[in-house]
Amino acid sequence: MNAIKNLKPSTCNNLINYGMVLVFYIVVQILVNAGVLNNSMQGMLVPICTYVVLAVSLNLTVGILGELSLGHAGFMSVGAFSGAIFWMISGSQMSPVVGFTLAIMIGGIFAGIFGALIGIPVLRLRGDYLAIVTLAFGEIIKNLLNAIYVGWDSNGFHFSMKDVSALGLDESGEVIVNGAIGITGMPKASTFTAGTILVIITLFVILNLITSRAGRAIMSIRDNRIAAEATGINITKYKLMAFIISASFAGMAGVLYALNFSTLAAKKFDYNTSILVLVFVVLGGIGNIRGSIIAATVLYVLPELLRELQDYRMLIYAVVLIAMMIFNQSPQVLAWRSNFVSKISRSGIAARFIKQKRQSEEV
C-alpha cells in the first residue's frame, strides 16, 4: 500500500513532461492555423524538437550517468549523414512515413554503434577520459565527413577521400555526399509533427529508463561508483547502456535535423553545437529532464526572437542565462520551489513528501 502511494510522484512528474510537450504542440498548431506564426518562426519548429531531443539525451550521459561528453554533435552528424544517405538512395521513394521512420532508425543505429565504439574502450577507465575522447571524436568525425565523397550506382556504394571523379561511378551513378559541400538536393521530410513524436519517444524511453532497475543502477554509479561496485552493480555494462542510448538519440535528432533542409554539410555539427547542447543541459539543471526540455526550447528561440532588438540581444540573452541558472541551481530557490509545489499540490502527496523530509532533518 505504502509503496504504491510512494511511487506516485515520479509517474506524476513524467506525465507533466508529456503534457507540456503536447500543450506546446497544440498551441503551435493553433497559432499556425490562425496565421500568427510567420515563416521564419515556423522554420524554427523542427530545430526546436531537434535540440530538445539532443538536450534530453545528453542529460542522460551528463546528468544521470554523471559523465561529461563534449561530442554530442558528433553523434548527431553520424546519424544525420547515415539517415540522409539512406533517404537519398531509397527512403524518399518509399511512403513518406515508412521512409522517414527507417531513416530515423538507421541514424539512431549508426550513432549507437559509434557510441559503443567509443564507450567500450573509454568507459572502462576511471576518470574523466570520456570528455577528452568525445571532444576529439566530434572534431575527427566532422573533418572526416568534410573530406568524404560517397556515390551510388548499380554496383552499390563507392567511397573516396579525393574527389568526385575518383568515385568511378557508371552512367546510372549519382553523387550523394560531395565532400565539404555535403549532400544537396534532398527532398525535405521533417515536419513539426514528426519532431514532436520523436520528442515524445525520446522522453518515453529515457524517463522510463530512469525510473526502472537499469536507470537506478546508472544513477548509483553517478552518486558513488565505489559503493555501486560493492553493491554488485556491473559498472561497465550500465555506463555503456546509458552512453549508447544517449548517442543513439543524438543520431535520431541528427536525422530529423538533416531532413528538415535540402542540403546537409558536416560543418554544422561542430564543437559549438556540442557546447550549445551542453549549455542547455547545465542551465536546465543537470539530471533534470524537464529543465532540459524548457532550456532547449527557450534558449533556442530567444536569440531569434530578440533579433530585432539588435544590440540588446546578447544582454537579454545573458540575463536569461543567469536567471535560469539561479532558478535551477541555487539551493534557496530550489527549496522555495519545492515549498511552492507542496502548497499548490491538491493531492498532498508532495506535501507529505516534503514534511517527511523536514522531519527526518530535524531528528
Binding site: 505504502n2 509503496a3 504504491i4 510512494n6 511511487l7 510522484p9 518515453f204 524511453v205 522510463n208 529508463l209 526502472s212 532497475r213 537499469a214 536507470g215 537506478r216 543502477a217 544513477m219 548509483s220 553517478r222 552518486d223 558513488n224 565505489i226 559503493a227 555501486a228 561496485e229 560493492a230 553493491t231 554488485g232 552493480i233 556491473n234 559498472i235 547502456m241 539530471g287 513528501f353 517527511q356 523530509k357 522531519q359 527526518s360 532533518e361 531528528v363
Partner: protein, 253 residues
C-alpha cells in the same frame, strides 16, 4: 568447511606493508569483531576481502570458491557485502532506491522490460518495494523512505548502509565502524539490531569497531590487528586480559 577462509594474505603499498600474513576463518552465521589501534590495517582488510585491493600474496576462499583478485561487483555477487567507514550512500537517490539498488541482483528484469513497461515490470517493482520497505523497517527507516539519502542524519545514514548491504543477500556482512558517531543509546539500539539481523538472516558478520563495549557486547570471537598483523584472537574475556592487546592499545612497546 568454514564460510570464509583467508590464508596468508598480505598487501604492500609501495614500501608500506599494510597487512601481512593474515589468517582468518569465519564460520557461517556467527558474529566476529576486528579491532586494533588507528592505522592498524582494519579497513585495508575489508578492502582486500571485497576486491577493492588485490592482495600481493595469499588466497581468499568464500564458500569453497577462490575469490582472490575478483572484482568488487563479482565478490558482492558471490556473497560478501559491506559498509564503509566514510559513509558511501547514493546521496541524490531516495532512501528506498538505495535499498532497491541492493536488490539489483536479487530481483531482476531487463532494461528493455523497464523501458517499455512490459509485463513483469510492475510485479517486480512492487516486490522490490515490499522487500526494501521490510528491510528499512528493521532499521526504523521506513518513515523516511522517500527522502534523499543525503538528507538523513549521520546515524541513520549508517543504518541505511547496513540495510542496503543486507539487501544484496550476503553470506558475510562486513561492517566498518557501524557505531561511529552514535550516542550510547543509539549504539545500544544498533547492537540489538545487529544481533537481530544475524539471527533473522543467518548471516555471518565481521565488524570493525573502536567502542570496546560494543565489540565485547556482541562479538563471539575477536581478532586484534596491529601493524597489519593479527596479534591475538579469542572471545571478549581472553582479549580483554591479553597483555599484548593491552600493550598495543596503551602503546606500551
Amino acid at each position: 568447511m568454514a564460510l570464509l577462509e583467508v590464508m596468508n594474505v598480505g598487501i604492500a603499498f609501495g614500501g608500506l606493508q599494510a597487512v601481512s600474513q593474515l589468517d582468518i576463518k569465519l564460520e557461517k552465521g556467527h558474529l566476529y569483531g576486528l579491532i586494533g589501534p588507528n592505522g592498524a590495517g582494519k579497513t585495508t582488510v575489508f578492502n582486500l576481502l571485497t576486491g577493492v585491493y588485490r592482495p600481493t600474496e595469499g588466497d581468499i576462499i568464500l564458500d569453497e570458491k577462490n575469490i582472490t583478485g575478483k572484482s568488487p561487483a563479482k565478490i558482492n555477487q558471490a556473497g560478501i557485502a559491506r559498509t564503509f567507514q566514510n559513509i558511501r550512500l547514493f546521496g541524490e537517490m531516495s532512501v528506498l532506491d538505495n535499498v532497491k539498488i541492493g536488490l539489483h541482483n536479487q530481483i531482476k528484469y531487463s532494461a528493455f522490460t523497464g523501458i517499455f513497461r512490459l509485463p513483469g515490470f510492475k510485479e517486480k517493482e512492487q516486490e522490490m518495494d515490499y522487500k526494501a520497505l521490510k528491510l528499512l523497517k528493521i532499521f526504523d527507516l521506513d518513515t523516511v523512505a522517500q527522502s534523499p539519502a543525503s538528507s538523513l542524519p549521520y546515524g541513520k545514514q549508517r543504518k541505511l548502509e547496513i540495510a542496503r548491504a543486507l539487501a544484496t543477500n550476503p553470506k558475510l556482512l562486513l561492517l566498518d565502524e557501524p557505531a561511529a558517531g552514535m550516542n550510547p543509546s543509539e549504539s545500544e539500539e544498533l547492537m540489538n539490531t545487529i544481533k537481530f539481523v544475524q539471527k533473522e538472516f543467518d548471516v555471518a558478520i565481521l565488524l570493525i569497531e573502536h567502542d570496546m563495549n560494543f565489540v565485547m557486547g556482541i562479538c563471539e570471537h575477536i581478532y586484534v590487528l596491529e601493524y597489519g598483523r593479527i596479534i591475538a584472537q579469542g572471545n571478549g574475556e581472553s582479549i580483554r586480559n591479553n597483555p599484548r592487546v593491552i600493550a598495543a592499545y596503551l602503546g606500551g612497546d
